[in-house]
Subunit: 236 residues, 2 copies
């Protein structure tokens, strides 16, 4: 079934946004009477019917939202250094949305090769990934800020820094508690500097390992996201 | 440190293959005396020194292989339907190599949109991923065959089929035993047909779920690979 994004979706008759109307009527050529799905990006997925196939202001009728859809009792936040090749970051966003994530922060770090990203484009990728994987939650993405500013911002819950170092033996899989908010820092190609790791530790971040394998930035981001979701499945 | 692939690497003085010599000397401009790493793709990683920076037949001197590097006491085999967009399959191969995988089989299935792939190109991607993630094991990739032929081939160890169905409640995370060979079937976009699932079950494959989230083919492949590696970390 086709799915559309309508941020203010609640119930009853509503208009699809212009871009979604166009996609629905002009691209997919759906006709009045067709059953569709609507996500509001805030955790609600609705069964709906296309009532008026207008190419700019399509009208849909929404039933009650599906209960307990996409619910997880924690806030998963990954702060990651944008990769030199932006496609690798985009890939991470798509896959993390599929696996399940709430918030992504971007920071520049001592070894960062990329310092500028267009958050608007990344938001589009997140929206497409949400629809593609039939998710009801659109992850939030924050603009790039310097690492030291991010690290000093107030963050609740568990705080981890994934750091490639033989001295770090504690695994995220063991350290992370289920049903608890969680923020994980993922470094750039070239990893965090020693000073950055120390700054993170001073600010309450715990160094953890993601396992034996050496992972690229975007793979480390996805692996940590998957581990947190599995822990919550496993330990609850 | 730079890493090169030399399939027959053992010990002492050896020539790098022509392409690796060129990359070492012409592209990276390494000079005699530099420390490098050599992987033989069979589970051995060697510390080595570049002795003669010849652009076609570079000579290297290998020390003893690092002990216990990249060792896992099971054979992880994922059989997957090639994705319509080949880049998604390539991405799976790269990421699975990083996480750790032994063998990949490709099959065409009732809903497969892609029936032809160039295994040679995929082998290059696996080799690049092995080097990039400093792995000593090059995953084996098998040519595409029809699903029913694959399913009837003799395979040892645990056999699972990941199937998107609300009736399947057993999780791979619970069903998979550590330190045991494991083959997992991942269906195409559009999933397996009911007949294919039945054929798999008749041939000893157990239906399992990868969790609550709905995953694309390549994400399901990677998630199952990661789950098996985590189980082996967790339960051993």
């Amino acid at each position: 079934m086709h799915i559309f994004y309508l941020p203010e979706a609640t119930q009853g008759y509503m208009n699809l946004p212009e871009e979604e109307s166009k996609h629905c009527v002009r691209v997919l050529r759906l006709e009045a009477g067709e059953n569709i799905l609507i996500t509001n990006g805030k955790g609600h997925l609705f069964d709906a019917t296309l009532i008026d196939a207008h190419p700019k202001k399509a009208i849909v009728e929404l039933s009650a939202a599906r209960k307990g859809y996409d619910y997880w009792p924690f806030h998963l936040h990954i702060a990651i250094a944008p990769t030199k090749n932006i496609e690798r970051l985009e890939w991470f966003l798509e896959k993390a949305t599929e696996i399940g994530i709430d918030e992504i922060s971007l920071f520049t770090s001592y070894h960062s090769e990329r310092r500028i990203v267009k958050t608007e484009r990344l938001e589009k990728i997140l929206t497409a990934a949400m629809k593609q994987s039939v998710k009801s939650r659109l992850p939030k993405i924050n603009d790039v800020i310097p690492f030291d500013r991010f690290i000093k911002s107030e963050i609740k819950g568990q705080k981890f820094i994934a750091w490639i170092d033989d001295e770090v033996s504690e695994q995220l899989l063991d350290a992370c508690l289920p049903e608890t908010d969680c923020t994980i820092l993922i470094g750039p190609e070239g990893d965090f500097s020693k000073e950055e790791v120390n700054l993170a530790i001073e600010n309450g971040y715990k160094p953890i390992s993601l396992g034996k394998a050496r992972l690229r930035t975007e793979t480390a981001g996805l692996a940590s996201c998957h581990i947190v979701q599995l822990i919550n499945y496993l330990k609850k």
